[in-house]
């Protein structure tokens, strides 16, 4: 217990670490957007698709939600080359995270669509709204309001999940922490600084998303 924390050697690497935070956000944004598109398609299939397509979507969601992301990426990264598909670590991580996020976002959006009640549309029809008007004034505001909090929550989860990319030598925040660690051997100092960066990063994202939601859809999202 006679180790003293010395931050001076690590502090000069903070700009380098913050550069990694940008890649973290990039990876989170890519996987979130692709996952969102997957989720939107899947949720529509679950509502309107034929039975075999619905079963396939349910199988995809159940499988990806019940297996670890790390092993999914291992599988993509090490097994696909045997089938002749060679992926860079960044691509493998991005694909794995997108597929994984897609499963969660399918669930979220399915629940969001289900929260729309028949009566709302009936009331709009009774008041003489045309179909585009119903979609624009009734359906979309409802869905946006219902989906915004869980979607922004999922984005925060994506930001934290990107740390797994470090295991595949992608130089995002945690990956750069590994680099600085092997350079300075100030392990606890490096990782505690990185922990604080993650804390600030996710808090800033939560705050920005809450403000955006309040401004766009009048959603009262909680940051704490």
């Amino acid at each position: 217990m006679n180790y003293s924390l010395i931050y001076s050697q690590v502090s000069e690497h903070i700009p380098y670490l913050l550069g990694g935070a940008i890649l973290t956000l990039e990876l989170a944004a890519i996987s979130f957007l692709v996952g969102w598109a997957i989720g939107l398609t899947n949720a529509s299939i679950l509502h309107f698709g034929p039975r075999p397509a619905r079963l396939a979507v349910q199988g995809y969601v159940t499988f990806f939600i019940n297996t670890p992301l790390l092993v999914q990426i291992f599988f993509i990264f090490f097994v696909l080359p045997d089938a002749g598909i060679l992926l860079s670590p960044y691509a493998a991580v991005a694909i794995g995270m997108s597929l994984n996020a897609g499963a969660y976002l399918t669930e979220i959006q399915r629940a969001g669509f289900q929260s729309l009640r028949r009566e709302e549309i009936d009331a709009a029809t009774a008041m003489g709204f045309s179909v585009p008007q119903i979609v624009w004034y009734v359906v979309l505001p409802h869905i946006a309001k219902a989906l915004y909090p869980p979607l922004s929550n999922q984005f925060i989860i994506q930001v934290m999940t990107t740390s797994i990319a470090a295991i595949f030598a992608v130089e995002e925040l945690t990956g750069r922490a590994y680099n600085v660690n092997s350079l300075t051997f100030r392990s606890l100092e490096v990782f505690s600084i990185v922990a604080v960066i993650y804390l600030v990063l996710t808090l800033a994202c939560s705050l920005a998303l809450a403000l955006l939601g309040r401004w766009l859809f009048r959603v009262k999202a909680r940051v704490f």
């Binding site: 019940n66 599988f75 045997d82 934290m160 740390s163 295991i167 945690t174 505690s192």
Partner: protein
């Protein structure tokens, strides 16, 4: 690819490999269920320490809130590394398993605290007022009024989070804990095809996680149907 798979399969599922994987599976199960159980217990205490009408006295409340917010906003891998190096530098002799277990417990506590908070908040305000009017002590409010009503709300989501921790334990392979993912990596380095190694453990993970999640959903449907007190 497929011919090689068929050729490898009998050798891969030999008795020694199965024992090796069984040991790893046991470690994964111990790590996740034990970690979740301890973590949830601590999480409930945190939630009780955060509620102003229970034990939420200012300094405890602040500390508990800070702990929950901090531990929910740091990735598992970074927490694991911090705790790993903290153990190493403090000179404490702890096994890798213990270090991973501590990480799971500390993160599970933070997540469980949030679920328990939702459960406590589900108890309607008049119940609190009535208990206070009858001069119930804090402990009595907790055990006679809050706990009997909130466990229905708290219990089902815990299983969903437990699945999350089973999945997180795969990250413990990074510090070399002998669990499923690490075992698969070792078998892969020993020359078995990646498809067999990672495919097998993907299925094993699924077989652990899916029933746990289903059980939570089953409980949710069952407990939700009954009328609330």
């Amino acid at each position: 690819m497929w011919e090689q798979l068929l050729e490898d399969a009998p050798r891969f599922f030999g008795i020694w490999n199965l024992m090796f994987l069984g040991q790893a599976l046991l470690n994964t199960l111990l790590l996740s269920y034990l970690g979740a159980a301890f973590g949830f217990a601590i999480g409930f205490s945190l939630a009780i320490g955060r509620h102003p009408r229970l034990y939420g006295i200012a300094p405890i409340r602040l500390l508990a809130t800070a702990y929950v917010e901090v531990f929910r906003r740091i990735p598992f891998l970074v927490k694991l590394m911090c705790i790993f190096f903290a153990f190493q530098l403090s000179g404490a002799q702890a096994s890798l398993f213990t270090i991973a277990l501590v990480t799971v417990v500390l993160s599970a506590a933070a997540f469980a605290a949030e679920i328990a908070r939702a459960g406590i908040e589900a108890v309607p305000a008049p119940q609190w007022d009535a208990a206070e009017a009858m001069n119930f002590s804090r402990w009595k409010v907790l055990t006679r009024v809050v706990a009997p009503q909130s466990w229905r709300v708290v219990l089902p989501p815990l299983f969903g989070y437990a699945v999350g921790f089973i999945k997180s334990t795969s990250i413990a392979s990074q510090i070399g804990v002998m669990e499923l993912t690490y075992a698969a990596k070792i078998l892969n380095t020993r020359g078995f095809s990646a498809l067999l190694c990672f495919g097998t453990i993907l299925i094993v993970y699924f077989l652990i996680c899916w029933p746990t999640k289903r059980f939570g959903e089953h409980l949710e449907a069952r407990l939700g149907r009954r009328p609330k007190v």
